[in-house]
Amino acid sequence: MTKSTLQVPVAAITAAAHQIVRMTLESPEWAAAAHAGHFVNVQIPQGSDLFWRRPFSLHRADPVRGTIDLLIAAAGRGSRILAGCNPGDVLDVIGLLGNTFPLDPQPREIIMVAGGIGIAPFDLLLQDAAHLPCRKSLFYGARSATALCHSPLWSEQDVQVHLATEDGSAGDPGLVIGPLRRYLEGQQDLTGCILYGCGPTPMLAALRALALELNIRGYVTVENLMACGFGACMGCPVELAEPRADGQRYLLACKDGPVFPIEEILLHD
């Protein structure tokens, strides 16, 4: 679909977890075209001296109501201003941007791996995968129980949810890669299992190492500083694991991604 800049009304803002809000935007055309991986680039409302837009993964889409949802962690100045918006406010938003998570027609298992606000695209991935009868698992880590964003789709689609928190207040104590490794090593056959990762770069780097070690296919969606979001500023390079024959060393997170095959790119801070 073509990219556009739209004036989008905020339909609702609700608390999703501690310092994380779910923002519902009225945008029928994006709601109808949205898939997991897509992102939008949101201008911080007038009165702010912040210069760049802020990119957010799409969290959910409701084509019937004509809305899309974003998950916004109020972590920095820009996201705090957005989290403080009210229903009826109108935001200047560029979308839909980026590529999407590929789905196999008949996967054995979809294994989602989320860290913190990296949970955002996985409701939409479950929506995209609703017709697939395969097993679905979610490994979801956060700082503590209060930072976890729970979803009704988990029970609707019989998702096996494995939680981990750094303070041990919910699920396994520690990082999410630990329980993921134990789970994968306990499987007899990993062919047809596909990993989908979104979260902090160190988590994605650990996920990549695990996927390569156990020879499991997978995709990650990366976050990166970006000034434009549509391929013009070239400020969001992602390093290729193998430079191309023509000397190309980088892809762009916004235009070539944000979703990449896990083996294709290097992940480092």
Partner: protein, 303 residues
């Protein structure tokens, strides 16, 4: 109806609003957002003789009313530019100005010579001033003798209009501008980015992998305007104003200071339709003010 057209040497622009190199890709990135044919002209991202991968990340950093960048001129090289980027650009009805850079004078001349084989290029903008390339780059526009020599050698291989893009990171921009004029440049464009730096105090690391980079955006507009005004007073060739322009009002400031045309740069990242909005804003303002040609405004600064 206001006539916004501009002549720069043999280059004829329907309006004075160009896109700035390095902020507008090769046009196609913006095709979803606007009718590209409404631009006064499109200046491409820099092309070099050989492909370049660009600098390692982080390449950009947000700053008050602007940003720092150190992109490093990633591009596919002249051959693939001609094969892959030019076919789309050649379908447009707006003048296409190809921005060219080189590591050495010979490299520069070879790049322009290769582009001479491509029909339809309206002009060349010579990137003498990228602060983010280790070799060459800045030297071309920080030393008047070097700027004159490279301009003279490029002038010898093309009849197309030459626009020398100047850096503000020098003691006297007008000295460099004069050297380019005397060596055969048809116009100058100014300013490129200002060298800047930012530090993450927690990690004590620079925000850019290359430590320093180029500052752009509204933060630099007053500096740009002063440099453009200085160039206008010194040179007899047209000056194209660049630096922090996000609105028609900003563009009017540069035109009143004497700029023949303007380029919209960083604004296009935040508002991909910014250049067209400036064109529309100029049309509306001129109509409201009863201005029929830009010549009435240009250099009309009252002192």
């Amino acid at each position: 109806m206001t006539d916004l057209s501009v002549r720069i040497g043999t280059l004829h622009l329907a309006n004075p609003v160009l896109t700035a190199s390095g902020t507008f890709g090769y046009g196609s990135e913006f095709a979803d957002f606007m009718d590209l044919n409404r631009l006064g002209g499109l200046v491409t991202k820099t092309v070099t003789l050989e492909a370049r991968p660009g600098n390692p990340p982080p390449r950009i950093c947000e700053t008050p009313a602007g940003m720092l960048n150190s992109i490093g001129l990633p591009n596919v090289g002249i051959d693939r530019f001609i094969a892959e980027k030019w076919p789309f650009l050649s379908t447009l009805n707006t003048p296409i100005i190809v921005n060219v850079a080189g590591r050495s004078i010979a490299d520069f001349v070879a790049a322009v010579t290769a582009l001479e084989a491509v029909p339809g290029i309206a002009a060349y903008e010579l990137n003498y001033s990228c602060p983010n390339v280790k070799e060459g780059g800045l030297a071309f526009s920080s030393d008047a003798r070097v700027a004159a020599e490279v301009t003279r050698q490029i002038r010898a291989v093309t009849r197309r209009p030459l626009i020398a893009k100047l850096t503000p990171n020098v003691t006297s921009i007008s000295e460099i501008g004069r050297a380019c004029e005397q060596a055969g440049a048809d116009a100058v464009s100014a300013i490129n980015t200002l060298v800047g730096m930012a530090i993450d105090i927690r990690s004590r690391k620079p925000r850019l992998a290359s430590v320093t980079g180029g500052l752009s955006g509204p933060a630099i507009k007053p500096v740009a305007l002063a440099r453009v005004y200085e160039l206008v007073r010194t040179l007899s060739i047209p000056v194209i104003g660049i630096g922090g322009i996000i609105s028609a009002a900003d563009a009017l400031e540069f035109i009143i200071a004497g700029a023949a045309a303007v380029q919209i740069g960083t604004a296009s990242f935040m508002h991909p339709g910014a250049a067209i909005e400036v064109v529309e804003g100029l049309e509306i303002w001129c109509r409201q003010e009863g201005i029929t040609t830009l010549a009435e405004l240009r250099g009309s600064l009252r002192l």
